[in-house]
C-alpha cells in the first residue's frame, strides 16, 4: 500500500481519490496540524508572554489563565499530531518498500523519547542529526525531480537553513568547544530565510502564474509589521524573536518585504496547492533555529508538504469538498466552462 495507490498525485487537490483507511488519518492529522500549531504559536509563545506585561485583575485573570491553558493544550496536541504524522509517514515509506526513508523518519521519532528519557546532554547531537537525516530523506528526492526550478531552489534554501541551524545548534551544544563559524552560520541562516521567502513567491508565480489577489491581500499584513515596528519596536522585536526566532540582524524593511513575499506565496498556493500553504504555516511555527524536537518535527513535516510529498509518492487528496471549492474559484474567474475538471498541474510535470 502506498500513498500513490490511495491518494491523488502530488498536489492535485481537485480530484476524488479512493478513500482508504491509511490516507484518511494522515490527511486529518496533516490538516489539523497547521491550525493547532498556529494556535500554540499565538497562545503559548505569544499571548502567554505578552500577558506578563498586562496587569491581570478580575475577569481578565480568568481569561488569561484559560487561554494560557488552551495554548498549553495546543502545544501538547501539536506535539502528538506531529509524532503521529511522523509515524504514519514512516509506515508509508516502509510499506512502499522504501526502507531508507522509513529508517530516516523512524530514527527521528525514536530520538525524541530517547532525549526525553536520557536527557539532551546524554544523547548529545543525536536528535539534531536525526532531524537533519529526515530532512535530507524528504528533500533530496524532490531536488532530484523535474519540479519547477524555483520551487526546488526554494526547498533547497529551506533545507540549507535547517543544515545551518543544525550545525550552529550542535556547535553550541554540550561537549562542543570552539567550533568555527557559529555566529556566521546563524547570520547566514537568517539571510537564507529572507531569500527563501522571495524565492517562494517566485516559485508560486512560476507554478501558477501571477495573480494580483495574493500580493494585494498580503500587502496590508506585511505593512502591519512595519507599522507595528514603527509604533513599538520593542514589543515587535521581542514578539518576532519569541515566535519565529529571528534576531532581526537586517533592516526591518527587508523583513517586511520578505514577509510580503512569503504571505503572497502562502495565499497564492492556497487555491491549487493547499498542502504547500500548510507547509509554509508549519515552517513559520517551526522557526529558524529549530531548537526542540517539537520544532524539528514541524520542520520536517513542513518540507514534506512543501515538496508535495514526493518522497512518499504524493500527499492525501483533500476530497470532494475542496474540489467543489476549486471549481467555484475557476468558474468565478473563467466562466462555467472552466469549472468542469480543473486540475492544477503538478510541479513535477513541468
Amino acid at each position: 500500500m502506498t500513498l500513490v495507490d490511495e491518494c491523488a498525485p502530488a498536489g492535485i487537490v481537485g480530484t476524488t481519490s479512493p478513500s482508504h483507511s491509511a490516507s484518511r488519518p494522515l490527511r486529518a492529522v496533516l490538516l489539523a496540524l497547521p491550525f493547532v500549531a498556529l494556535a500554540e504559536l499565538l497562545l503559548m509563545r505569544t499571548f502567554y508572554r505578552v500577558g506578563i506585561f498586562i496587569p491581570k485583575e478580575g475577569s481578565f485573570e480568568t481569561v488569561y489563565a484559560a487561554l494560557s491553558d488552551v495554548g498549553s493544550f495546543a502545544f501538547d496536541l501539536a506535539s502528538v499530531l506531529a509524532l503521529a504524522a511522523f509515524g504514519m509517514l514512516a509506515l508509508v515509506a516502509l510499506r512502499r518498500g522504501d526502507l531508507r526513508l522509513g529508517l530516516a523518519m523512524a530514527t527521528f521519532v525514536i530520538s525524541i523519547p530517547a532525549a526525553l528519557a536520557a536527557g539532551v546532554e546524554a544523547v548529545g547531537p543525536v536528535p539534531r542529526l536525526a532531524f537533519l537525516l529526515a530532512v535530507l530523506g524528504v528533500v533530496l528526492p524532490f531536488l532530484r525531480s523535474r519540479a519547477d526550478v524555483a520551487h526546488r531552489i526554494f526547498v533547497g534554501a529551506v533545507a540549507s537553513c535547517f543544515v545551518l541551524s543544525t550545525y550552529t545548534g550542535i556547535a553550541q551544544g554540550p561537549g562542543v568547544n570552539g567550533a568555527p563559524a557559529v555566529a556566521g552560520g546563524q547570520i547566514a541562516a537568517e539571510l537564507l530565510v529572507v531569500l527563501a521567502a522571495a524565492i517562494a513567491a517566485m516559485a508560486w508565480i512560476r507554478t501558477e502564474g501571477f495573480r494580483l489577489g495574493p500580493p494585494v491581500v498580503a500587502a496590508p499584513l506585511a505593512a502591519s509589521f512595519l507599522a507595528a515596528w514603527m509604533a513599538n519596536g520593542s514589543v515587535t522585536g521581542i514578539l518576532v524573536l519569541w515566535t519565529v526566532g529571528l534576531r532581526l540582524y537586517l533592516a526591518p524593511w527587508v523583513y517586511a518585504i520578505a514577509l510580503w513575499a512569503f504571505l503572497a506565496a502562502a495565499i497564492g498556493w492556497l487555491r491549487h496547492w493547499p498542502w504547500r500553504s500548510a507547509g509554509l504555516v508549519l515552517l513559520v511555527v517551526a522557526g529558524v533555529f529549530v531548537s526542540s524536537t517539537y520544532q524539528q518535527s514541524l520542520g520536517v513535516l513542513a518540507v514534506v508538504l512543501l515538496t508535495d510529498g514526493v518522497a512518499f509518492g504524493g500527499l492525501p487528496a483533500l476530497g470532494e469538498r475542496w474540489s467543489r471549492r476549486e471549481r467555484w474559484w475557476a468558474a468565478g474567474r473563467r466562466g462555467p466552462a472552466a469549472s468542469a475538471t480543473k486540475r492544477a498541474p503538478t510541479s513535477a510535470s513541468r
Binding site: S21, D76, R100, A115, L129, Q172, S234, L241, L248
Partner: protein, 322 residues
C-alpha cells in the same frame, strides 16, 4: 467502506486530543529542548585578573552572535561575534567574555566620551520563567553585571578622573568651591555612576523591564578586563550564592540562563545603544575541568561518524523522483 474507515480521520484526531489532554493535565511534555549551552566546570586557582592567561584556553566556550539592539529606542549596536567561557571553583563563578574592538575606549572624562563596556545578564532567582532578554519583565526580573573600561581605570589608579587628567594643558585660576558637594551633585546624591571611590569595575544591577534598571551595590561582583591586539577580554566573578533579592543564586550541579551585551565607546554606544545576544543556558557542573572531558570531541566525532555512515546509506538509496 466500513464505518471505521470512513471515520478513521476523526477518530485519529479524537485519540490524539485524548493523549494531549492527559499530557496537559499531567504537565508532561513530548518535546526535548536543545538550546545553546555554556558549561562551567570546576577548577582551582582561576586567574580572575588575568583574562589572557592560557588557563582560559582550556575552559569550555560558546560563540554567540550579537546583533544591534533594535527592540527599544535608542537603538544601536552592531552585528559581531563574542566568545564566552565559564568556570567555577566551588565558591565563585567566573565568566570570561571576549569580543573584537579595534580601539580601547577607557574614558568618560568629556561629555562626548563613552566607555567600552560589557554586561552579563541572568534571570533573577525569584523568577519561574525566562524573562525577556532585554531587561526582563515586570514579573520576571534580571540580574546584570556591568563592567566598564572607564570604571576599571578608576579602580586601577584608585581615584576618580579630574579635569587635569583629561585636559593636562588646561589652566585654572581658582576653583573656590572645589570641595563643595553642591558642585558635584552626582556623587553628593550617591549616584553610583559618579562614585569616586568604587571598589569594583563591575556594577551589580537589577531590572524588571525597560526603564527599571536599578543599582544593587554588591562589592562581591567583580570584573577585570584587558585589551590586546584589537580584542577585549573581561572576566566577571561573583560568589555562587548571593542571598540578595533580585540577584541570581547559583549552585554547582544546576543551570540558569545567561545573556550578554557589548558597548563600543568609539561608536558613541551607551545605555540602550548596544549589541545584544539572547539567552543561552549556563550549566554549572560539579565535574572538574579537564581538557577532553564530558561528551567531548571524541564522543562527538563518533556520533558524527555513525551519522555519516547512516546518512550515506540512506541518501545513496533514495529513489529518484520523476
Amino acid at each position: 467502506m466500513t464505518p471505521w474507515r470512513r471515520r478513521s480521520g476523526a477518530l485519529t484526531l479524537a485519540l490524539a486530543s485524548g493523549v494531549a489532554l492527559v499530557l496537559t493535565l499531567t504537565g508532561t511534555r513530548l518535546a526535548a529542548s536543545q538550546e545553546a549551552m555554556l558549561t562551567a566546570r570546576q577548577a582551582e586557582d582561576v586567574p580572575a585578573r588575568a583574562p589572557w592567561d592560557a588557563f582560559w584556553d582550556d575552559v569550555p566556550s560558546a560563540d554567540l552572535p550579537l546583533s544591534a539592539q533594535t527592540v527599544t529606542p535608542p537603538n544601536g549596536g552592531r552585528g559581531l561575534t563574542m566568545t564566552a567561557h565559564a568556570v567555577h571553583d566551588g565558591a565563585a563563578v567566573y565568566v570570561l567574555v571576549e569580543w573584537s574592538d579595534p580601539t580601547p575606549d577607557r574614558s568618560v572624562g568629556r561629555t562626548e566620551d563613552f566607555s567600552d563596556a560589557v554586561a552579563v545578564q541572568f534571570p533573577s532567582s525569584a523568577t519561574t520563567q525566562v524573562p525577556a532578554f532585554c531587561m526582563g519583565d515586570p514579573t520576571a526580573g534580571v540580574n546584570i553585571w556591568h563592567w566598564r573600561a572607564a570604571w576599571q581605570r578608576d579602580v586601577a589608579r584608585a581615584t576618580a578622573p579630574t579635569v587635569a587628567d583629561r585636559y593636562p594643558g588646561a589652566a585654572v585660576d581658582e576653583y573656590p568651591f572645589a570641595d563643595d558637594p553642591a558642585f558635584a551633585p552626582g556623587s553628593a546624591l550617591g549616584n553610583p555612576v559618579s562614585d569616586p571611590a568604587r571598589s569594583s569595575a563591575a556594577d551589580n544591577l537589577v531590572a524588571n523591564g525597560f526603564g527599571s534598571l536599578t543599582p544593587d551595590p554588591f562589592a562581591e561582583v567583580q570584573g577585570w578586563g584587558e585589551w590586546r591586539d584589537g580584542r577585549w577580554r573581561v572576566v566577571f566573578s561573583r560568589p555562587l550564592e548571593a542571598s540578595r533579592d533580585g540577584n541570581v543564586e547559583l549552585h554547582a550541579d544546576t543551570w540558569t540562563d545567561v545573556a550578554f551585551a557589548v558597548w563600543d565607546g568609539a561608536a558613541d554606544e551607551r545605555d540602550g545603544m548596544k549589541s545584544v545576544a539572547t539567552f543561552v543556558t549556563l550549566d554549572i557542573e560539579p565535574d572538574p575541568l579537564v581538557e577532553d572531558g564530558g561528551f567531548g570531541e571524541w564522543g562527538l566525532l563518533a556520533v558524527l561518524g555513525v551519522w555519516i555512515l547512516v546518512a550515506g546509506y540512506i541518501v545513496s538509496g533514495l529513489p529518484r523522483a520523476r
